[in-house]
Symmetry: C2
Subunit: 218 residues, 2 copies
């Protein structure tokens, strides 16, 4: 596989702790694909807003969706925005207070969302969301009606202008602190899955994907 | 305890699925205190930005910190911003594709950050961060030097203008779909802690807080 990396733009070039930055497409896709939601920053006449919403990737675009009536979805098509995904992996314990840090994987994407107007593409995008959430479930649910699709806006943003910043591993202490006697290392967070909970009104057997859920790591 | 709730402002009043909204202070504090990081939306001459950063709460303020050289920290003191925290708790599986949803706890805070200039307050704020990350560790690390404090900016934002939106429980299906035979329920995410990992250069015994880390839920 050929590694793909786009050069950073003036607004994606990481300046703080730049040695943690990456512009590799594979690093971006790994962070996006591990996420179920993103945070989107946009600006309107009331100021800046930071909204969490479900997201998924199809090839070189990140997708979101919502009601046609959403103020956010309208506004996102009118100007550039910033989409950020962050996974927190651990607390890093150093010898000095100020060298404590966190391990994380984060991605920022800049650009403008566009509406997926073509009906076929809209259906394919919604199918891809279901397939991401619960692979294999799509064939068993009641599919979307024409009315439901008509009331739903699907937007996508190109994964072209982005920066990845991530940290892993133990602390980096100052040389003068190495003799200070305190435990150093990482306290990890886990991103796990609990046992599937059947709804009170459920009448069906637990399907394999739900039975397997609590036994896999997310 | 008296329940405290502030009335929503024009920009914090939740319009989409408003029945999931809350303006209770206790709900806000629970979401903030369960978080190690927030996403901050702000705007400058390059557009909107969404930056993840560590956060902690002291009484009625949310705190962040960073290098004096940070463009973001400078800009955050110049105009209103939006701070958002989101915890994703599960996938909710309904009978129809479009009634699938997620369970989550989210909080949005609007306002302007102010610099914590008083040295005593700056020290207390940084101590509170360490105490949040690893209770009991502060006394054992090498404390901050005058130079380190001088190079660090601590900002805080009042937790006064906010909205909480959260969902829990099973799916809400359309009445017409109730006879559709498919398993319904929730696939939960867990927010866990892994076993502490000692650094390769560590020379000290595992302290109680690190030994207990992997055995508690985060």
């Amino acid at each position: 596989m050929t590694a793909t990396a786009l050069p950073p733009s003036p607004r994606t070039r990481v300046r703080r702790v730049a040695e943690l930055a990456s512009y590799e497409q594979a690093a971006l896709y790994a962070i996006v694909d591990a996420a179920y939601l993103c945070h989107i920053a946009f600006h309107d006449d009331k100021g800046s807003h930071c909204i969490p919403t479900a997201c998924w990737r199809i090839e070189g675009h990140l997708y979101i969706h919502g009601s046609n009536g959403s103020r956010m979805l309208k506004r996102l098509q009118e100007s550039d925005v910033c989409v950020t995904i962050t996974h927190l992996d651990g607390l890093v314990l150093a010898r000095s207070a100020f060298n404590h840090t966190m391990n994380y994987r984060s991605a920022m994407v800049y650009g403008q969302f566009e509406k997926v107007s073509d009906i076929g593409r809209q259906h394919a995008a919604m199918d891809a969301l279901m397939e991401k959430l619960v692979p294999g479930r799509l064939a068993h649910v009641r599919g979307g009606s024409a009315k439901e699709y008509a009331a739903t806006t699907v937007l996508r943003i190109a994964l072209d202008e982005y920066a990845v910043k991530q940290r892993q591993g133990g602390p980096l202490d100052d040389a003068d602190d190495m003799a200070h006697a305190v435990w150093t290392g990482e306290l990890p967070f886990t991103h796990g899955r609990g046992t599937a909970i059947a709804d009170a009104l459920n009448t069906c057997e637990l399907p394999p994907y739900a039975a397997a859920w609590g036994t896999e790591s997310a």
